[in-house]
Symmetry: C2
């Protein structure tokens, strides 16, 4: 029996009862002979409450102090969790990100892990302890200041620790039973995926699936750490994310042609209208956007109208970055040379993901047929080797996801998906 | 202009408004040309809420994890305070006890400061920052674990930092205007003391005055750091605690004969009845108590009755230790040889404190006369060079304090004492 890293989100430890439930689950793993390292998020709404306090004292809280504030959340949950475990008669010690050796760069509020030196965790494990580590936080290499990792940071902490400690598996406990073929809140007949490759999971995450974030999966792939996504409420076997299919019973789980359907309604579309159709124009536009530190997603350039020599370029980006992008483009209007900008935040994106589609030429056609049959109009298209994405009206997204899910035979025989609580960080 | 350490208790930073008010006061000190180090407690009821959570997950929370939990409180208040200061256009950085170099022993929940290495605070000050430090917490020298200093710990943090940084003064901001000649909640005509010596303040603290705790005053006396106790609400000049009288206007404040009247109703009295009146008996009793790690206060041995050769020994101790003391004595009943134990938690203690009483022989007599005139019966008496204490019925305490306060001419002409809020830690 080897070392297991378990990560529990905020919804799993939302109150004292939740903490005691999670403590029992951790002790079970220990009793089964594992060395156990637990990464925990802040309790339920703690983070939101702290953000609210910050906004009351300062309209624009500074990065360093904001991180100092937010990290109080995990400090509370990890100490309580360690107490609850000790109360069950097992030894546990809690560690801050800094104490656990999570070293990051100095970009407050969205720091990146650059090294993990888990000496104190190793010692705690060797002395027979269960080690509880604060997720979402680290310490900056140069200034020794407390940093936070941004959204989904606790998952990344867990995977990074699993890699540094050479764990057998990183278990991500959440409020659903695993990764589903579509969002269970939209598709009642969504099926739990038993196994999915890192690559397909990366595409799902990039396409709007919120169970695991892109950065965490990327980290797990780089260090080849199998992830087991499962529910802290049901205790059922969940979804394995790994490079090779897992064994289930006496046979390997087969690679599915299609892993799932993801959707995303958090993006907006900007269309730059009347751009001269000449070399370097697109480069100028996207240099402007990139200089403003905005990440964009899909890009489509229309065929230029021969009569005018002008074309339109559309791209999608997070709604939260919309204002900044418009401002940056307007400021550089003369340099770029365009007529006008159109901003549309009533869009949605539907993506079909699966490594099998590379060798199944009919997939694209079936995808478009399904959308057409459902009466959904397509505004943008983008494809990769293992993904097709389309942009539609936001109102059409739910219907489109259900239509595609059904067309590719992903529907389960029963409504099996259960959502147990809110979502953690 | 030199360096000032300011300490704000939990009631001063109970909510966002309080934090903003305190931030303004800090910025004023900075504008006046001081280097400013601020020690802050947890907001209002935060600590109680965390203790409540701990009790929900574990009936007996372990020391290390309990400290990890409680220190989240100051982390929140210090980060918010730094944000509020930055919002006023001044630079501020917050530091945990560990980051500020507060090194302690390993006794969790009541650690003692053994060294202060404020390198990061110095650097922050040199760079023009206001430094905000979490009170009440440190890091253990041997294990590098987070510790807390116990009740009144933030005051001790402030004085220890003031000593290590060679500060001009340590300002303790609280919810009253200073140290009073008696508890203003009991004596409406209590007067604010302008200056008091370390020695008298130590006796007041030992006798039940709660404005400053004994340990903090002791620390300040050892390093000769003047303390200025004042209100964060009124901003008035408060009470100076120092070795030499301060200047006020163009004259020195004179040493008062009597500094004040303190009272304490947190103690109980144990009487060991029927003890053989022979050498070594008292030693056996108090060795038993001390082995149980119980601190006692007053001790009185009655004159032995000649007919029996037996005597009674009474002592007072914190009510919270009563059960433990009784158990320890009963367990050793044969070894000590006594008839029975009497436990009485309906007692109160009244103390008159003042260095002037050494050379004023009438003080003791006047004290007893005042009590007698008020009809208060005395059960135990204990004296030091600068203090007389008596034990009475708990019900008589308030009346006794008012009578003594009045008899020694301490009453103010008006009801000047104001209590602004709750009490912090």
């Amino acid at each position: 029996m080897g070392l297991v890293v378990q990560k529990y989100g905020g919804s799993s430890v939302a109150d004292a009862e939740g903490i005691k439930r999670v403590a029992k689950r951790i002790v079970e793993a220990k009793k089964n002979g594992h060395q156990v390292v637990v990464v925990v998020s802040a309790m339920g709404d703690t983070t939101d409450e702290l953000i609210d306090l910050a906004e009351q004292v300062s309209p624009m809280p500074a990065g360093r102090e904001f991180d100092m504030l937010l990290t109080a959340g995990e400090r509370i949950s990890m100490a309580l969790l360690a107490m609850a475990i000790k109360n069950l008669g097992h030894e546990a010690q809690s560690f801050t990100g800094s104490q656990a050796g999570v070293i990051t760069d100095s970009v407050h509020n969205k720091a990146r892990i650059i090294d993990v030196t888990p000496g104190r965790i190793r010692t705690a494990l060797d002395e027979g302890n269960i080690a509880i580590v604060a997720g979402f936080q680290g310490v900056s290499q140069d200034k020794k200041d407390i940093t936070t990792l941004g959204r989904g940071g606790s998952d990344t902490t867990a995977v990074a620790l699993a890699a540094a400690l050479d764990a057998e598996v990183c278990e991500i406990y959440t409020d659903v039973d695993g990764v589903f073929t579509a969002d269970p809140r939209v598709v009642k007949k969504a099926k739990k995926i038993d196994w999915i490759s890192f690559e397909d999971m990366l595409e799902l995450a990039a396409s709007g699936s919120k169970v695991l974030l892109h950065r965490c999966v990327e980290y797990a792939r780089r260090y080849n750490i199998p992830i087991h996504v499962r529910s802290s409420f049901s205790g059922l076997r969940g979804t394995w994310v790994s490079s090779e299919p897992i064994e289930q019973g006496d046979q390997k789980v087969e690679q599915a042609i299609i892993s799932g359907v993801a959707h995303d309604t958090s993006e907006a579309k900007i269309t730059v209208v009347g751009v001269p159709d000449k070399p370097g124009e697109a480069a100028t536009i996207f240099r402007t956007i990139s200089d403003a530190e905005i990440n964009i997603d899909m890009i489509v350039q229309n065929v230029s109208a021969a009569s005018t020599g002008l074309t339109d370029i559309s791209f999608t980006l997070p709604k939260t970055e919309g204002r900044k992008a418009i401002d940056a483009l307007e400021k550089n209007k003369a340099g770029i040379g365009f007529d006008s900008l159109r901003y549309d935040d009533q869009i949605g994106k539907i993506s079909l993901v699966g490594a099998g589609m590379k060798t199944n030429p009919g997939v694209t056609a079936s995808f478009f047929e399904a959308l057409s049959d459902a009466g959904v109009n397509i505004e943008l298209i983008s494809t990769s080797e293992i993904r097709i994405s389309v942009v539609t009206r936001a109102d059409d997204v739910a219907e489109a996801v259900r239509a595609v899910h059904s067309a590719f035979g992903l529907d389960s025989d029963s409504d099996e998906a259960v959502v147990y609580g809110g979502t953690g960080r």
